[in-house]
C-alpha cells in the first residue's frame, strides 16, 4: 500500500505551511498531499484553518505571508495573487459565490476573460462557448439568463463552468453544498465525479460528512490549525463516526474556569420561536424553537455555520434579524414584549455579536465612548452626557476586564481582537443586563484572551445572570456551559447537560435533523 501510494503521481504537495495572524496561529506546519485525479476532502471544525489553507494555496494570502513550500505539478510555486494561481489551473470557488447577479450567465462566465476580436468583445463566439461550457456541467439554461434569476444550485454550476473555461486542473470548492438542497447537492456531486473521470483533481471542503464519505477518495482532517491525519476512504474503511472522532478528538486542556455559583430558577424562556428569512418568503431560518435559561447558568448553543444560531439570537434581540412569525419570550415567568433593540435593552437583554467589527463596534470611536454607547441614558442628565461619569465607568471596566490600553481615550481600532472583544463585553455589561447572549465570543482571538473571556462569562453567571453562549468550538462549549442545545437547519435538535455531553454526540445532533427525545 505504501509503495502503491508513492507510485501514484501527486499534483500538489503543501509542505509545513504555517500562517499566523496577529495573535493567532491559524495554520501550524500543515502538510497536504493531493494525488492527480482524486477528490480530496478537507474536514475540520469551524475555525480549524481549512479556508485559510486554501487561501494560502490559491494566492489570496500571497507568497511571503506564510512559511512553508507549495509544490504544484512538480515545481515549487510562489503565487503572489489569485491571477497567478489561476493561470496555473488552480481555481477556487468560494462559499460566497463571486457572480454578479445583474449580469447574464455568459457575461459572468467570461468576466475578466472576455473573448475579443480586435479589442471588441466577440459576443457570437462567447455565446457559443457559453453553451458549450454549460453543457459540460449539465445546464441547459439560456446563457442570456441573468444570474439572479437562476437558483443557487445552478449558480454553483455556473461557477464550475467558469472554472472549466479557465482550463482548471485543480478545482477547490469551499462548502459547495452548504446552501444547496438535496437534489442540487446530488447533481453537484455527480458532476464532480464526472470531472474526476476527465482527470480534473478536486479539493472539497465540507461540513456534510455523509457527502464526503460518499464522494471523497482521501480525507485530510485539520484541527486547531494542524493537519491531524489523512485517511483513505476505501482502504481505511472510513465512516462518519471516524471523521467526527478525528475532528473533535482532542483532550480538553485545563483552560476553563471552575463552575462556581448555583443554578437558580428559570430566568428566561423562549417558546415556539419562528422566524423567516428576510428576503425569501418561504424559507424559515428558525423553526419552532423553545429553550430556557436559568439564573446563574451558562447555556451553550452548538451548531454549524448557517444552522440558524445567530439568526435565532438576533431575532430574540429586538427582532434584529429576519421576519418574526410567531413565538413568545418570558422573563421571570412573565411574558415580555420585545419588538426592537431598545425594548430588549430595557428588558435586560444584551447581545454581543459574532462580528464585532461590523456589528459590535464603531471603529472610529474611542474606548470610553464605546463602553457607554448602548446605555447613554445611564450617565446622562436630560440628554447631556456626563463625561466624568463616562470616564469613570469606562475606567472601571478597563480595570475589571483588564483591557490592555494606555488610556480609555485610545481608539478601539488600535486594540487587538481580544481587547476589542472585552470592550464589546464591557459595553453590554454596562447596560446591566440579566440575560447576555454571546455570539462566538472568542472568535478570532488568541488563547490567552479566550481564557480571560471564559472567566468573565463564568463571573457573569456567578452574579446570577443568565448567559447564552453560541460557539462553533465544541471544547469551549463543553468547558464553559452548564447545559447545551444543538441546532441544525434552524431547529433545536437536542439538549443535554454539559456533564453528559461529549463532542461526538454533539456533532451528531449538529449534523442531522433526527430529533432525539430531550434528556431530563
Amino acid at each position: 500500500m505504501e509503495l502503491e501510494g508513492n507510485s501514484e503521481p501527486t499534483i500538489l504537495e503543501m509542505r509545513s505551511i504555517t500562517k499566523e495572524f496577529p495573535g493567532v496561529k491559524a495554520l501550524d506546519e500543515v502538510s497536504l498531499t493531493v494525488k492527480v485525479g482524486e477528490i480530496h476532502a478537507i474536514c475540520g471544525e469551524n475555525g480549524a484553518g481549512k479556508s485559510t489553507l486554501m487561501k494560502v494555496l490559491s494566492g489570496v494570502y500571497p507568497f511571503g505571508t506564510y512559511a512553508g513550500d507549495i509544490v504544484y505539478q512538480g515545481k515549487t510555486v510562489k503565487f503572489r495573487d489569485i491571477k497567478q494561481s489561476e493561470a496555473d489551473g488552480i481555481v477556487i470557488i468560494h462559499q460566497e459565490l463571486a457572480l454578479i447577479p445583474l449580469l447574464s450567465i455568459t457575461e459572468n462566465l467570461f468576466l475578466g476573460n472576455e473573448p475579443t476580436k480586435r479589442g471588441v468583445i466577440d459576443w457570437v463566439s462567447a455565446q457559443k462557448m457559453a453553451r458549450d461550457l454549460l453543457a459540460r456541467v449539465g445546464l441547459s439554461d439560456d446563457p442570456d439568463t441573468l444570474i439572479k434569476d437562476i437558483g443557487v444550485g445552478k449558480q454553483q454550476l455556473v461557477e464550475i463552468a467558469k472554472a472549466l473555461h479557465k482550463s482548471v486542473k485543480l478545482l477547490i470548492l469551499d462548502e459547495p453544498t452548504a446552501a444547496l438542497n438535496e437534489s442540487d447537492s446530488q447533481h453537484l456531486l455527480d458532476l464532480l465525479r464526472g470531472l474526476k473521470g476527465r482527470g480534473i483533481t478536486s479539493i472539497i471542503i465540507s461540513h456534510k460528512l455523509n457527502e464526503i464519505e460518499a464522494i471523497a477518495d482521501e480525507i485530510t482532517i485539520i484541527r486547531d490549525g494542524k493537519a491531524i491525519e489523512t485517511l483513505n476512504v476505501r482502504d481505511d474503511g472510513v465512516d462518519e463516526d471516524r471523521i467526527i472522532r478525528g475532528m473533535v478528538g482532542r483532550t480538553l486542556e485545563n483552560r476553563f474556569p471552575p463552575r462556581i455559583g448555583d443554578v437558580g430558577e428559570v430566568l428566561f424562556e423562549v417558546k415556539n420561536w419562528n422566524v423567516r428569512h428576510p428576503l425569501v418568503a418561504d424559507r424559515m431560518v428558525v423553526k419552532n424553537s423553545s429553550f430556557t435559561v436559568r439564573r446563574g447558568e451558562v447555556v451553550g448553543f452548538a451548531g454549524l455555520m448557517g444552522a440558524g444560531r445567530t439568526e435565532l439570537a438576533m431575532s430574540i434581540f429586538g427582532r434584529s434579524y429576519g421576519v418574526f412569525q410567531s413565538g413568545a419570550l418570558f422573563k421571570d415567568g412573565k411574558e415580555i414584549k420585545v419588538t426592537n433593540v431598545q425594548d430588549a435593552i430595557d428588558n435586560g437583554i444584551a447581545y454581543v455579536s459574532e462580528d464585532r467589527k461590523a456589528l459590535g463596534l464603531n471603529l472610529l470611536d474611542d474606548i470610553k465612548r464605546s463602553v457607554v454607547s448602548a446605555k447613554l441614558s445611564k450617565i446622562s442628565k436630560g440628554s447631556v452626557v456626563d463625561k466624568v461619569e463616562e470616564y469613570q465607568a469606562s475606567e472601571r471596566y478597563r480595570k475589571s476586564l483588564r483591557i490592555k490600553t494606555p488610556t480609555v481615550y485610545e481608539g478601539v481600532n488600535k486594540l487587538s481582537g481580544g481587547n476589542q472583544q472585552k470592550v464589546v463585553l464591557a459595553k453590554w455589561m454596562f447596560t446591566d443586563p440579566d440575560i447576555l447572549i454571546l455570539d462566538e465570543p472568542t472568535r478570532g482571538i488568541d488563547v490567552g484572551a479566550k481564557t480571560e473571556i471564559y472567566g468573565i462569562i463564568r463571573d457573569l453567571a456567578a452574579q446570577g445572570k443568565g448567559v447564552i453562549m453560541i460557539s462553533s468550538e465544541l471544547p469551549e462549549l463543553l468547558g464553559v456551559s452548564d447545559r447545551i442545545y444543538t441546532i441544525f437547519e434552524g431547529a433545536i435538535t437536542n439538549e443535554m447537560s454539559a456533564d453528559e455531553a461529549d463532542p461526538e454526540t454533539l456533532m451528531k445532533s449538529m449534523t442531522s435533523t433526527e430529533k432525539r427525545a430531550p434528556k431530563l
Partner: protein, 463 residues
C-alpha cells in the same frame, strides 16, 4: 493591520507637552495652521488690508451664510449623508419671508412696534418653513429610505422652482429693519473712548468664558484622573487664545464709527457654541456619530437610526432657512438667483475642516475653520484683484489638496501631516470656539476616502 503596527511611536518630552497645549487633537489644528498661514500671507501681500477692521467686518458679513450652512452640513455628513438642496431651500425661504414681510402692515400700531412685529413674524415664518421643508426631506431619507443625495437633488430643483414661482422670478426687497440680522451692528452706548463699547463688552465676555472653560476643563481632568497637562501648558494656551480674542476685539472695536462686531457674527457664534455642545455633549450628538461610524452597530446598540437621520436632515433645512434670511438681510432683497452654489461651498468647508466622506468623522469647529479658509482665500484674492475665474480654480485646488493630503497620509498609516502635532486627546469639556473642537475623532487609517482602497484582507481565519 499593518497601519496600526507602523504607527509612529509615542513622542516624549517637549512634543508631548506641545500637543497638550492644544489637547483635543484632530485635523482641525492642522487646518487652523493653514488658516493662520493664509491670513499672514494675505496680510503681507495686501499691505495690511486683510486685517483692516472694515475688511474683517465685510468678511464676516459676506460669509456668515456659508459658515452657518457648514454647521448643519457637518452633521449631515457625519451621519453619512449629503444635502445638495441647501442653496435652493435658503432661496425659497428667503423669498417667502420677503413676500410675507412685504404684505404685513399694522396700521393701528406705532411705527417702531409695527416694524418690530413685521420682522419678528418674518423670522418665525422663515424658521417654520425651514422646519417643514426639513421634515419633508427628512421623511424621504429616514422613513422611505431614498438616499439623501437623490432626495436633496430633487429638493434642489423643487425649491429653486418654488422660489421663482413665489417671487415670479423677480426680486423682492426686504424692510429696512430686517437688514440688521445680515448687515447690522450693535448700537454704541456709554462714554466714547474711540472704541465700540458693545464690542469691548462682548470681547470681555469671551475672555471670561475662555478662562472659566480652561479652569473647568482642568477640574474635570483631575476628577477623571487623566494625566493632567502641566499648569504652564494651560497658561500658554490661555495666553495664545486670549491674545487672539483681545486682538480681534480691538480690531472690530476700532472700525468705522457706528460699526461693531457684526450681528451676523454673533448669530454665528451662538450657533457654533450651541451645535458644538450638541454634537459633543448630548446623546443625540453621540447618536449622529454612531450612525455615521457604523450604523449597523448603532442599530444593535438601540439607537433609533430613523430618528437620527430625520433629525439631521430636518435640522439642515432649518439652518438653511436661517442662512437664507441672513443673506437677504445683507443684500436687502430676495431674488431668483440667491443661493446658487451654496451647497458646494458648505460641503467644501466641511471636508476642508476634516470630515470623512464616508461619515462618522467631522467637527463643527473644524468646519467653521474650513469655511474661514475659503472665505479668507476669496477675500484675499479679491483684494489682490485676482479675477473670479482664477479664484474658482484656486478654491478647487485647495479643496482637492486639503483632502488629498489627508487621505494620502492616512494611507501611509501616518496621522495627517498637518495634524501631526495634535493626535492625542485630553479632557474635553470645552465648547468655546477658540479652545476646543467638538466631537473630536482621532484620525484613523480606516477613516475617510482611503477606506475602500486599503482595507486589509480578511483577518479572521475561518474554516
Amino acid at each position: 493591520m499593518s497601519e496600526t503596527a507602523t504607527r509612529a511611536p509615542e513622542k516624549s518630552g517637549g512634543i508631548r507637552e506641545l500637543r497638550k497645549l492644544f489637547a483635543g487633537g484632530g485635523r482641525q489644528y492642522g487646518i487652523l495652521g493653514a488658516l493662520v498661514f493664509i491670513i499672514v500671507f494675505f496680510q503681507i501681500f495686501t499691505d495690511g488690508k486683510t486685517l483692516d477692521p472694515i475688511n474683517l467686518i465685510n468678511l464676516i458679513n459676506g460669509n456668515a451664510y456659508v459658515l452657518v450652512l457648514a454647521i448643519g452640513m457637518v452633521m449631515v455628513i457625519v451621519a453619512g449623508h449629503i444635502d445638495l438642496s441647501v442653496g435652493s431651500v435658503a432661496a425659497f425661504v428667503g423669498i417667502v419671508v420677503a413676500q410675507v414681510m412685504k404684505g404685513l402692515s399694522f396700521p393701528g400700531l406705532p411705527e417702531g412696534m409695527s416694524s418690530f412685529l413685521t420682522v419678528f413674524i418674518g423670522i418665525i415664518v422663515g424658521l417654520i418653513i425651514g422646519a417643514l421643508v426639513g421634515a419633508w426631506q427628512g421623511w424621504w431619507v429616514a422613513y422611505v429610505g431614498v438616499p439623501a443625495f437623490i432626495v436633496t437633488l430633487a429638493g434642489m430643483l423643487l425649491f429653486r422652482g418654488a422660489n421663482q414661482f413665489v417671487g415670479n422670478s423677480t426680486s423682492i426687497p426686504v424692510p429696512q429693519e430686517f437688514k440688521f440680522i445680515g448687515g447690522g451692528f450693535l448700537n454704541d452706548f456709554g462714554p466714547d473712548f474711540g472704541f465700540s463699547n458693545p464690542t469691548l463688552i462682548l470681547g470681555a465676555l469671551v475672555v471670561v468664558a475662555v478662562i472659566w472653560q480652561e479652569r473647568r476643563s482642568r477640574v474635570a481632568q483631575r476628577k477623571m484622573g487623566a494625566d493632567i497637562a502641566p499648569l504652564w501648558v494651560s497658561i500658554v494656551r490661555l495666553v495664545v487664545v486670549l491674545a487672539v480674542v483681545v486682538g480681534a476685539t480691538l480690531l472690530f472695536a476700532t472700525g468705522r464709527v457706528g460699526t461693531s462686531f457684526p450681528i451676523a457674527g454673533i448669530i454665528l457664534g451662538v450657533l457654533v457654541l450651541g451645535y458644538s455642545f450638541l454634537t459633543n455633549n448630548t446623546t443625540i450628538g453621540r447618536h449622529i456619530f454612531a450612525v455615521g461610524g457604523n450604523w449597523r452597530a448603532a442599530e444593535l446598540s438601540g439607537v433609533n437610526i430613523r430618528k437620527v437621520n430625520f433629525f439631521v436632515m430636518a435640522n439642515m433645512s432649518v439652518i438653511a432657512a436661517l442662512a437664507g434670511m441672513i443673506w437677504i438681510a445683507r443684500s436687502a432683497a430676495s431674488g431668483p438667483g440667491d443661493g446658487v452654489g451654496w451647497e458646494l461651498d458648505a460641503i467644501s468647508a466641511v471636508f476642508i475642516g476634516g470630515a470623512a466622506v464616508s461619515g462618522g468623522i467631522g467637527t463643527v469647529a473644524g468646519s467653521i475653520i474650513g469655511g474661514l479658509v475659503i472665505a479668507v482665500l476669496n477675500n484675499g484674492l479679491q483684494l489682490l484683484s485676482v479675477g473670479a475665474d482664477r479664484v474658482q480654480m484656486i478654491k478647487g485646488l485647495v479643496l482637492l489638496i486639503a483632502v488629498g493630503v489627508d487621505v494620502y497620509s492616512k494611507r501611509q498609516g501616518r496621522p495627517s501631516i498637518i495634524g501631526l502635532l495634535t493626535r492625542k486627546r485630553g479632557g474635553e469639556l470645552d465648547v468655546s470656539p477658540g479652545a476646543k473642537p467638538a466631537g473630536t475623532q482621532t484620525p484613523t487609517p480606516s477613516a475617510g476616502g482611503a477606506e475602500e482602497t486599503v482595507r486589509p484582507p480578511d483577518q479572521q481565519p475561518r474554516g
